[in-house]
Amino acid sequence: MAESADHLSCQEVVELVTEYLDESLPAEDASLFEQHLNFCEGCVWYVDQLRTTVETVGEIREEQIPPEAKERLLGAFRDWRRS
């Protein structure tokens, strides 16, 4: 991933955030990633923005099943049970 072995640019960091948050970055890249955050406030804020984005998406309420759709399914279930 990294162009040089000892350094990531900000532009490289922003492409690795999902892998980093999923803990699927190879150890060497994770270490370069964290080293970068140690000296780059902009990327710390960026990672925080993406993390906040994920949390905010998680706040979207999944819609509930409409009552009539549920009734239809329960009806289908009773038919299935009888068969």
């Binding site: 640019s9 699927s24 509930q64 759709a69 279930f77």
Partner: protein, 218 residues
Amino acid sequence: MAPAQAHPRSAPSASEEADLVARLRGGDERAFEALVERHYATMLAVARGYVRTRAVAEEVVQEAWLGVLNGIDRFEGRSSLKTWIMRIVVNIAITRGERETRTIPFSAFAPEADEPAVDPDRFRDESDGFPGHWRAYPGSWASLPEDTLLVRETLDVVKRAIEELPAAQRIVVTMRDVAGCSAEEVCETLDVSEGNQRVLLHRARSRVRSALERHLDG
């Protein structure tokens, strides 16, 4: 820095799931109802990626539940029950989508062209010293008032951004970040590789972040 928190709606254990399957096979209506309530929204979101309208997606989900009931005796537990159910949704949705000629081409889950997470213009170029570094830092959202992100207006921005995503990105981010599916569940359900799943998720999150940034900083 701590990794993202696991989704609060955690997966049932293997023994809970075996119990649920047994109750379902035995005709326990409460078990069926609980399963419907738990998975309906995710099924609908997955189906919507493949068919044109919400009404058709609802039909796909209804049909999928019949498939679940008729197939439950053959469920062997090789994948989780949830993944098995979602696979049924995908198969029915693909059939419906083909009939409507709006199926997601198989290759849609293989990301094609490069899509940078952040507009390249926001980084310094070669002539600039420190190429690839921010021209101007993104804003700190830590200083926003606590509830800014949770107000309805902000959540509407996020919802709209998700609706506008390309279908494959929308399905993946909905499964992972709205419904709380694991990466593995997404890969198995959509028959997509781990790497492609991650790329689609990353692009989707990056686009939603941009929309939020325009809303919050704009």
